[in-house]
């Protein structure tokens, strides 16, 4: 078998067995990339803001695809640019569209305007149009500068969304003393009930969640976020930037935590308890860990010594890698689509020197890893899923399909699902003796 890295020498630095892979570089043209564009990143961050109108300034396709993010379907508005708009400019059309959107949804608390490749290329001054519309309509009209080609991946769309959040949403509310024992969770997208599980644990500490950015965010909730006592950074890259800026502007301290896996969750709870000086030195944490371990133990027996390959968006890599190791799985390769240096460093510190680390692996490389390492499970997004199936490798979609993986109960869910996936009869049937006849 020809090695793809030898065919594309540019990729060599992105695969590392010991150090950290090169990252944050443009994707090679001509590969089947798993990355998405900046617009997608921005939609991923902001889609859940419920009481805002989401208006895409671009061709209709971008709006069509942006409806379904995070496995949910959201209402989107679009200017649906056509040929004449591309030639003669679409500024007036955008202004009208904003006005019409507000008339159609009078209850909306804000309008979020996303730019696309087309709008970026024809050089529309979206910011000025939004400012004008805001003055005319009396509703915040927020431009998000995220043409698809900007930056190397969807990560740059996350950045653009964070910029918009900071400038237009967070901390717009009235100032006041910090609300007692309240936190914001930054970079938590509340997929399949993760947030509920995290809230349950925080409630046991007596801590309230003010705002989850952006799993459960509203315009009003974001405005109030400045009064939190502490910021918890869950998803690294975007969360970290939000936290730093909020620390600077409103003096809110922050901690990087993760709620995936027993050790990480316990550490997170200890950090938060220490910060708020919670009196009951959390004996219940030990009890919950014990109980979770007990519940998971039948599955853990079946998982010992199995191999897993991980391929995530970005910073969940590190904490999830640790959770998988707690399950008794050996992580044979670990990669991400748009992780930054900190993300890879964090994962490396949790994985040791044996794991192959890869940045921006594309489909062909993933196929080769599956072939060479024969992992018992691949974890990733739904684009890799069907390719893995065709090669006979069980696949776990993360963000998950069924139950929360966060917190102690989430760990049990994870153990149960991983064991079920790996032991599923379908793989035996697929790989076994040839079909009769």
């Amino acid at each position: 078998m020809e090695l793809s890295v030898d065919m594309l020498p540019e990729r060599r630095q992105h695969l590392q067995r010991e150090g950290l892979p090169a990252c944050n570089r443009p994707t090679l043209p001509g590969v089947v990339s798993q990355r998405a564009c900046a617009l997608y990143g921005a939609r991923w961050m902001l889609a859940a803001i419920k009481d805002a109108i989401h208006l895409l300034h671009g061709p209709v396709g971008c709006a069509y695809y942006s409806e379904t993010v995070r496995k949910k379907r959201y209402e989107v508005f679009s200017t649906a640019l056509e040929e004449k708009d591309i030639i003669f400019g679409a500024g007036a059309k955008l202004a009208t569209a904003i006005r019409e959107g507000v008339r159609l949804r009078p209850a909306a608390a804000a309008v979020i305007v996303y730019t696309t490749c087309a709008a970026g290329l024809i050089g529309e001054d979206v910011t000025a149009i939004c400012r004008q519309a805001e003055a005319n309509l009396g509703v915040p009209v927020v431009p998000v500068n995220c043409p698809g080609f900007c930056g190397v991946s969807q990560g740059d769309g996350h950045e653009a969304a964070v910029t918009a959040l900071l400038e237009h949403f967070i901390g717009r509310g009235a100032d006041g003393p910090p609300l007692a024992k309240s936190v914001n969770i930054l970079g938590e997208f509340d997929i399949q009930g993760d947030l509920k599980e995290i809230e349950r644990l925080l409630q046991r500490l007596g801590v309230e969640v003010l705002c989850a950015v952006s799993g459960r965010a509203t315009v009003a909730g974001l405005a109030r976020a400045r009064r939190a006592g502490l910021n918890l950074v869950h998803c690294g890259r975007t969360g970290r930037r939000l936290a730093l800026e909020m620390a600077e502007r409103f003096g809110i301290p922050w901690r990087k935590v993760s709620f995936f896996g027993l050790a990480e969750t316990a550490a997170a709870l200890r950090t938060i308890a220490a910060f708020f000086q919670c009196p009951e030195k959390a004996t219940w944490v030990e009890e919950e860990i014990e109980s979770a371990r007990e519940k998971a133990s039948p599955y853990l027996e079946r998982l010992a010594g199995k191999r897993v390959g991980l391929f995530f968006g970005a910073s969940r890599m590190g904490s999830m890698a640790r959770a998988f190791r707690e399950l008794g799985l050996e992580v044979v390769f670990c990669g991400s689509q748009f992780g930054c240096r900190e993300d890879y460093a964090e994962s490396r510190s949790r994985l040791g020197r044996e794991t192959l680390m890869v940045d921006d692996a594309h489909e062909r490389e993933l196929e080769e890893f599956l072939h060479r390492y024969r992992p018992h499970l691949l974890v990733g997004g739904s684009r890799e899923q069907f390719m893995a199936h065709k090669l006979g490798v069980p696949f776990l979609v993360f963000p998950q399909e069924t139950a929360p993986y966060a917190g102690f109960n989430g760990f049990v869910n994870l153990a149960r699902e991983v064991a079920t996936f790996i032991g599923a009869p379908v793989w035996r049937l697929a790989a076994g003796s040839p079909a009769p006849g």
Binding site: P26, T27, G30, V32, S33, G61, I86, C117, A118, C150
Partner: protein
């Protein structure tokens, strides 16, 4: 779907329906002048997507072909997501990966390097180059770029291997048309590039199915087989996008099947070209007719009895082969099903949305069932849609109120209109109508592209007589499940 009120026996059929909650409690009426999409600048929940998707769909239907998308990464990622959701299959689509530098300096480097990288990684049998809005706006000179890419490839892997890989360029600016038009353009680009000579007649018929699912294409092949006719199906996604799981596979994974490149070259020699969906595939058929005199038979989609009849009759006329007994029996079974269930379907008020050809085909079929179409929305704007709807209504002698016809438009327009109607019994459309059906509290029968919230719809057929039975059963059962209390369904 919960029954709110159980109908009492003795109520005439047209009044047999359940008191419905018209809309969510927070529903407020929209400004009337903003309801038609034509009056607005803003589009709310579009009912169509962009051209590149149609072109990528087409390329994936060619054996060993890989689409190369000259645009930003999102343009491939979104489409791959869509195909994964709909077909549950891997979709190998390469990206030119535009970043800021391409936006400023153009996509020449991306294309030349990209073609090279794609070839050495996958050794495709054909590359379908699909443009996007960004490459069209910055004005990439694709023809000359492709020449350079070819020259570069010859240098790297030798002229023989390099020239063995045909490259087909499909221009699909996303700011014009829709996925239906993208497929249409691809059909023309492929025959124009590959079917260049008419040298010896082959007695085959070309079929351009349009955006039909693997199950549908299998059904069309079934009809051809029983007619004893050899066909060339252009963009045959039935195997590539519904492949068996049979490890071990060699790397890289290449899906089986698809239309062989040789077969596309041979299309110029055929007897005729059937474009089963006039909006998606007509361009290819017309081109072959103009250039080589290969007769073009455009539509109607073989959905329902008359639709399938028309297809088979055209095949009979063309080849002189009779329609065999077993297809007559299939037809008879469908007619029998229609008769058996007519009292359930008659006078039911139905709203249909989706791609224009699907809407037209299904409309003809529901008229055969005695249903009353109250609103028809073809997401892609079309020159002939309104006229076609009128023709279909007239042909069946339809006497009810004429339906609202949304040619183009968006889902907001469709939904708000449905909310104002006194009664709708059923929505037929793709998965994007889920919210509308929920809001109206009526069942949704899923047909067309995309269907991502149910499994198996891509494998079943709705075309042909047998497909008609499947669709009929689904329509009837959804009416039964919704409108009839259990104690009345025992003696159906």
């Amino acid at each position: 779907m919960q029954l709110k009120e159980i109908p009492i026996t003795g109520i005439p059929y047209d009044q047999l329906y359940i008191e419905k909650i018209p809309a969510a409690p927070e529903y407020c009426r929209r400004p009337a002048e903003l309801l038609p999409a034509g009056n607005r600048s803003v589009v709310v929940n579009p009912n169509r997507t962009c051209m590149p998707l149609g072109a990528m769909w087409a390329v994936l239907g060619v054996h060993g072909a890989i689409p190369f998308v000259q645009g930003a990464q999102g343009c491939t990622t979104y489409v791959r997501y869509t195909f994964c959701r709909v077909f549950k299959e891997p979709a190998t689509i390469a990206t030119a990966s535009f970043h800021e530098d391409a936006a400023v300096f153009g996509g020449r480097r991306n294309l030349i390097e990209g073609i090279r990288n794609l070839v050495v990684r996958y050794w495709p049998e054909l590359i379908g180059v699909v443009t996007t809005c960004s490459s069209e706006i910055i004005g990439d000179d694709m023809v000359s770029f492709l020449k350079m890419a070819r020259a570069n490839l010859r240098k790297e892997i030798g002229p023989e291997r390099a020239d063995g890989i045909p490259i087909v360029l499909v221009n699909t600016p996303s700011f014009a048309g829709s996925h239906v038009d993208g497929y249409d353009r691809a059909s023309r680009a492929f025959v124009e590039t590959l079917a260049t000579t008419r040298n010896k007649p082959n007695d085959k018929v070309n079929i351009i199915p349009g955006l039909l699912y693997p199950g549908d294409i299998r059904e069309i092949k079934h009809l051809l087989r029983h007619m004893g006719i050899e066909g060339i199906v252009l963009f045959d996604i039935s195997d590539p996008l519904d492949a068996p799981l049979q490890p071990p596979v060699s790397l890289p994974y290449k899906p089986p099947g698809g239309t062989p490149v040789e077969a596309i070259r041979d299309m110029a020699n055929s007897l005729a070209t059937f474009a089963l969906q006039p909006h998606a595939g007509q361009a290819g058929a017309r081109y072959l007719e103009r250039k080589f005199g290969v007769r073009a038979v455009v539509g109607p989609p073989p959905i329902g009895i008359q639709g399938t009849d028309a297809f088979l009759k055209a095949l009979r006329e063309l080849t002189g082969k009779p329609i065999p007994e077993n297809l007559r029996q299939e037809r008879g079974r469908l007619v029998d099903s229609l008769a058996d269930t007519f009292h359930h379907t008659m006078m039911k008020k139905v709203a249909i949305m989706g791609d224009p050809d699907v809407v037209l085909g299904v409309t003809r079929f529901v008229l055969e069932m005695g249903m009353e179409p109250v609103a028809l929305a073809g997401g892609t704007a079309s020159k002939t849609f309104d006229h076609d709807v009128e023709a279909i209504l007239a042909e069946g002698g339809y006497a009810g109120d004429p339906p609202l016809v949304v040619n183009g438009g968006d889902l907001l327009e469709f939904e708000e209109h449905l909310k104002q109607l006194p009664r709708v019994d059923l929505v037929i459309g793709n998965s994007r109508a889920v919210d509308i059906a929920k809001e109206l509290q009526v069942p949704l029968v899923r047909v067309g592209f995309p269907i991502y919230d149910r499994f198996g719809y891509q494998k079943r057929a709705v075309v042909g007589y047998r497909g008609g039975e499947v669709l009929l059963a689904e329509i009837v059962n959804s009416i039964l499940g919704y409108q009839y209390p259990d104690d009345r369904t025992h003696q159906l």
